[in-house]
């Protein structure tokens, strides 16, 4: 078979993207935290999820792009705290797919040149999404930006900055906000079967010489996609919540592609000096303020949300404690696999059978995934100690200095006659040991059925992708602030702001601070 669908240049680029992901995966796995649990069989479900990702991502991404291009969804991602940010898109989309591929290579079930068109497509989708989402900073990943996660345009940052309420350790708002973040973090780990993928941090953004802002997203909290939240989470009023957090005397020097941060000195709650609260989803026109009318209203809201989340947390824990190992495996694997499912929501093509089931091609591996084999296979995949990872003894890989590469490159020999295959095929049927999903989705447009959710998503055309505004970027704003068109653009973002409504595009950071001081 001659290789006519890809050029040498495309192969070069694909291999470059694979290598970049390999370098970062090694660094993240070695230097960031280890995930373990006595409740969930974590390594086992992770291995199962990688199989699901390998076999299904290519066909599901093609389905999504049949409605909406990756770069358009990337534009939408800048305007919502939903699961198409890090760690979903910055790392997991290529990472899970490539980890699955690598394990299958080690089993001898595939070769580096198998499903090569799928592989090139997944990496290209990822690149286009990332470049679009990151267009304000010009990098493809947080890693390339020196582990920094700045995505938002000035007009959104100004609203976050202006409307944030000051707080200090010991006051009622501070305690309420801190209590909420503790409870929702814990609930997030439980929803996501011990993983942190319901939580995401981005930033930092400079608010003043001694203050930075971190934007914290807490996602999939209510009755929505996960069957295990049906009923137990029905009283959680928002599916996604975003907390804006001003921090004093603390520099966030690292925000990685897993959405976690490091700071100097260590961030502790006493350094929290400002908070705000928002919600969003694929049906909202960006971030919607939650209880941002007054500090009293916000304080009360944090307390109420904390109570509801603790109640849901305890109900969910009791449900999970009664599960079988296979049910825990399914929930964990589905959580991982579906980490990019909100791409399908934005495009309006979400289906339960696509995202909440274990593909039968992955399912056949389940008997392998006892705790010990899964642990050893997983650690080997993450640090590069399997057979496929080994390279010539002369090699000194990035970070490890060892002759090992985490993800195999595509051999260029396919361009001169070595045989290869194109695709692992379409989406095969799947199944799950979990109860069927109830057709009830809590969105910013109310609790609706999935068909309605998809219909509304397909109709949704937020200003950020309206041809009138889509390419009015930060560079354009720099040279056009104060013009009627720039003011129109800023007015859209300011329409629900307490302090900035109708202020337009001419404000700078100090002006926003003055407005805050005078409020």
């Amino acid at each position: 078979m001659s290789f006519s669908r890809m050029s040498y240049a495309q192969l070069l680029e694909t291999n470059n993207l694979i290598q970049a992901c390999a370098d970062e995966t090694y660094w993240l796995c070695v230097t960031r935290t280890v995930q373990e649990s006595k409740l969930f069989p974590v390594p086992a479900y992770m291995m199962l999820s990688y199989m699901m990702c390998y076999y299904r991502y290519p066909s599901l991404l093609r389905k999504i792009e049949s409605r909406m291009l990756a770069e358009e969804i990337g534009d939408r991602a800048r305007n919502a705290g939903i699961k198409i940010q890090n760690p979903s898109m910055g790392w997991a989309l290529p990472g899970f797919y490539l980890l699955g591929r690598e394990w299958l290579i080690n089993l001898g079930l595939i070769r580096p040149q198998d499903a090569v068109e799928d592989l090139a497509y997944v990496m290209d989708f990822w690149k286009r999404f990332q470049l679009s989402w990151h267009r304000n900073n010009g990098h493809i990943t947080n890693k390339e930006y020196g582990h920094r996660g700045q995505f938002l345009p000035e007009r959104r940052l100004q609203v976050f900055h202006a409307d944030m309420f000051d707080c200090k350790a010991g006051d009622e708002l501070h305690e309420a906000a801190q209590g909420f973040m503790a409870a929702v973090s814990q609930y997030g780990f439980l929803i996501s079967c011990e993983s942190r993928i319901s939580l995401h941090n981005s930033g930092p953004y400079k608010l003043a010489d001694d203050r930075e802002m971190i934007v914290r997203d807490f996602m999939d909290l209510s009755e929505s996609d996960f069957p295990w939240l049906d009923d137990v989470a029905k009283d959680v009023p928002y599916n996604n919540l975003t907390v804006t957090m001003a921090v004093k005397d603390c520099h966030f020097y690292l925000v990685d592609d897993w959405g976690s941060f490091e700071s100097k000195p260590e961030f502790t709650s006493d350094k929290l000096v400002g908070v705000g609260l928002y919600t969003s989803d694929s049906l909202s026109e960006g971030y919607l303020p939650v209880a941002m009318g007054s500090r009293e209203e916000l304080t009360s809201c944090f307390k109420s949300l904390t109570d509801k989340i603790k109640d849901a947390n305890n109900k969910l824990w009791r449900r999970i404690a009664g599960w079988s190992r296979d049910q825990m495996m399914d929930a964990g694997a589905i959580t991982y696999f579906s980490i990019i499912k909100d791409l399908a929501h934005v495009a309006g093509v979400y289906e339960v059978s696509d995202w909440m089931m274990v593909d039968e091609r992955a399912e056949r591996f389940r008997p392998l995934f006892n705790d010990e084999y899964s642990r050893d296979a997983l650690v080997g995949l993450c640090i590069g100690s399997h057979q496929s990872h080994r390279l010539s003894e002369y090699t000194m890989m990035h970070h490890s200095n060892a002759p090992q590469r985490l993800y195999s490159l595509i051999p260029y020999s396919i361009l001169q006659g070595e045989d290869y295959t194109l695709t692992s095929g379409p989406t095969y049927p799947g199944a799950s040991c979990l109860p069927p999903k109830v057709d009830r989705y809590n969105t910013t447009r109310g609790v609706i059925k999935l068909a309605e959710y998809n219909r509304l998503s397909r109709e949704m055309r937020p200003p950020v992708v309206d041809p009138r505004y889509r390419h009015l970027c930060e560079t354009w704003v720099k040279y056009n602030a104060g013009t009627p068109m720039a003011d129109e653009l800023y007015h859209l973002e300011q329409s629900q702001s307490r302090l900035l409504k109708g202020k337009g595009s001419h404000l700078k950071r100090a002006d926003v601070e003055r407005l805050r001081a005078g409020a």
């Binding site: 995930q35 079930l109 295959t421």
Partner: protein, 247 residues
């Protein structure tokens, strides 16, 4: 027999572990046999015939063969050993065993009683520096049954949870009630470390302890400096002490 692409690997000559090697070896044998059965045509095998020919029952047989040698798996989740006690190593410190159970880590730093009558029984990585050391009663938590027991009967006000699970889900419904935590795993950045910091609960992670039994009065040095990222990355020792106190 058919030769797989990976059989010609110039550099890869060792696996990640003995168990992984045993599995991968058996699976490769299986694939070679099945590939032979279809005449060795890789293109029709890899994403088509192999879906039927490499099946769950084949992988179950690989495990059965390993277990027949007497091997028993390490467990990480309690549900695994509970559902298949014949396939996993036993799980001490659960149920009735708790009365006589204690973590016995070889790396535990111990010392005789000091002037205040405190006997050092180990060390750990302090998550957050607090103004005072913490004194409480050690209670082991190693299963969801134990969590359910505390959830039903209430968490004692002076309880220092002794755990070897650095995750944030096992103790999710009761964590907020702990007076302190000694965790024999993870790092200060593990989920349990993150949550205790959010809740303001004194916590030592990666603890290496010995001789602390259920119901012992213990003190943890929560006034020690919090272990930093740099300390982890450079391997610098930065620990807080754990003492057993007179009852």
């Amino acid at each position: 027999m058919a030769k797989l692409y990976i059989d010609s690997d110039k550099y890869g000559d060792q696996g990640a572990s003995a168990v992984v090697d045993a599995y991968q070896g058996a699976i490769k044998d299986l694939i070679r046999r099945r590939l032979d059965e279809v005449g060795g045509d890789w293109a029709s095998f890899v994403f088509d015939k192999s879906y039927e020919l490499i099946a769950a029952k084949d992988f179950a047989a690989v495990e059965k063969k390993l277990l027949a040698t007497g091997h028993r798996f390490d467990w990480s989740a309690m549900i695994s050993v509970r559902e298949r006690p014949d396939a996993y190593k036993s799980a001490p410190g659960v149920g009735d065993d708790l009365k006589n159970f204690s973590f016995e880590h070889a790396e535990a730093v111990i010392a005789p009683k000091d002037a205040e009558g405190r006997e050092q029984r180990g060390v750990g990585d302090n998550v957050v520096k607090h103004a005072k050391n913490l004194v409480g009663i050690a209670r082991y938590i190693r299963s969801s049954d134990r969590v359910l027991e505390f959830l039903t009967q209430g968490v004692p006000a002076d309880m220092i949870a002794v755990i070897d699970d650095s995750g944030g889900t096992l103790t999710a419904p009761i964590l907020e009630k702990f007076k302190g935590v000694i965790c024999a795993g993870g790092t200060v950045r593990s989920h349990l470390g993150i949550l205790t910091r959010e809740y303001g609960i004194p916590c030592l992670m990666n603890a290496k302890i010995s001789g602390i039994k259920e119901g012992d009065r213990v003190e943890i040095e929560s006034t020690a400096p919090a272990k930093t990222t740099e300390a982890y990355q450079t391997g610098v020792e930065m620990t807080a002490k754990v003492w057993r106190l007179s009852k």
